[in-house]
Structures are given as C-alpha cells and as structure tokens.
Symmetry: C2
Subunit: 123 residues, 2 copies
C-alpha cells in the first residue's frame, strides 16, 4: 500500500476509517509514517519516551491537555508534542487528524490500554 | 523559534513568506522539519539522493513532473516523492505547500542554482 510518487487524497482515505483513536498509515517518508485518525471524546494520558509527535488537524478541533495548559488545535494548525511530555488528546466533536511520527510508535505510548491500537495498519 | 507543545497556525506563518520556492521551517519533529513554501511557475528538475520528501498541499494546486507522468496534487492531498527520483514541481497559480523532510535537505537536491534556498530558516 505504500505507493510513493503518487498523490494520496486524505478525504478518500478517511472514508475507510470507522473507529476512533485508531491511526491508519497512508504514506511513509523514509522510516517515518503519516497516519490518519478520527478522534472523539477522551484519549488517555501518555507520553512517548523516544520520539516527538506531530499532529496536523485536517477537520474539526483537537484539544491536547498538558500538565499546565490545554492547547486547542484547529483545522490548518499543527502541533509537535516533545518526546517524554505527558499529554492527553481529546475532542468534543469528531475531528480528523494527520499524525507524523517514526514507524513503530504506539498510539498510547508508555501504556497498554483498551485504546492501544494495532500498529502499522495501512489504508 | 522551535516551540514544541504549542500550536502553530499555518495561515499566520504563510503571511510572513514573500518569495516563491523558499521553504521556511515552522516545526521540528526529532530531526525532521516541517517547512512552509509558496510556489508558482516552474522549479527545476532535481532529486534528493538520501531522503524521501513529502508534500502536503495547503492551498491551491501543486504539479510534479516525473519522468513518465505528471501528478496534480490539490488541497487536502499529499504525495511522498521517493529518494533518488527525479522530479520537477511547478504551479500554474500560487500554491501553498507544507514540506516534510529531514533537517538539512537542500530544496534543489543535487543541484546548486538560482533557486537554491538558504536552509534552516525559521518563521
């Protein structure tokens, strides 16, 4: 499914996603992956000990709780969460997000929970 | 300028860009960079020998000529050009693109031309 040198339409890919908080890979850049995810309600507090993580909001509004603040990321905005930093993403309504991070990063970081998604699933 | 854990508004950053084909860094993910660029008219044929390169179209329409085809990448679409592959980006009208690639990658790849931009310039 990793077809380089060919455009990928994010809206079309999003139609293939039915579950929340379950990132699906749409492209690879060297050993980094672009993953589309639909989000709604609360995720879990977690961190990634070995990597930063970038969120690009495609549709809607993503919130990320940090220890001392909450960031509201809207369509056309991006945020990079530094490695090791505890954060809890959430969305009041369904939002669509493109995540960029190295291949192999688990969505729940340091935790295994019901929200831990299967990794490296392509759509 | 590399402020992590804080959202970045791409439209606001784009207002700071006046010249075409001159990518400006807006965020870093480990040793990878997100660079905004305004493009219009023709770029040069080039390749990057050591890295893939991902283009995310924010506004307008980006074209990329390959040896045997032309890809038309619209708003909401992305494309990853594989390392070593010759390509020539162009845009018939001004378009806005978010580029993702490792820190230190030169915009004209294997060439030094009038279009070679200064690297690692943050906005």
């Amino acid at each position: 499914m990793n077809e380089k040198n060919k455009k990928i339409n994010l809206s079309q890919k999003l139609k293939k996603i039915n579950d929340y908080w379950s990132p699906k890979v749409v492209s690879e850049l060297n050993d980094y992956q672009f993953k589309l995810v639909k989000v709604k309600d609360d995720f879990v507090w977690h961190h990634h000990s070995k990597s930063d993580e970038t969120f690009i909001v495609i549709k809607g509004k993503l919130f990320i709780d940090f220890k001392n603040k909450t960031e509201e990321i809207n369509e056309g905005e991006i945020i990079t969460v530094a490695k090791g930093i505890n954060h809890k993403p959430f969305a009041k309504k369904e939002a669509h997000v493109l995540i960029v991070e190295p291949r192999g990063v688990k969505n729940t970081g340091n935790l295994n929970t019901d929200l831990t998604a299967q990794n490296d699933v392509w759509i």
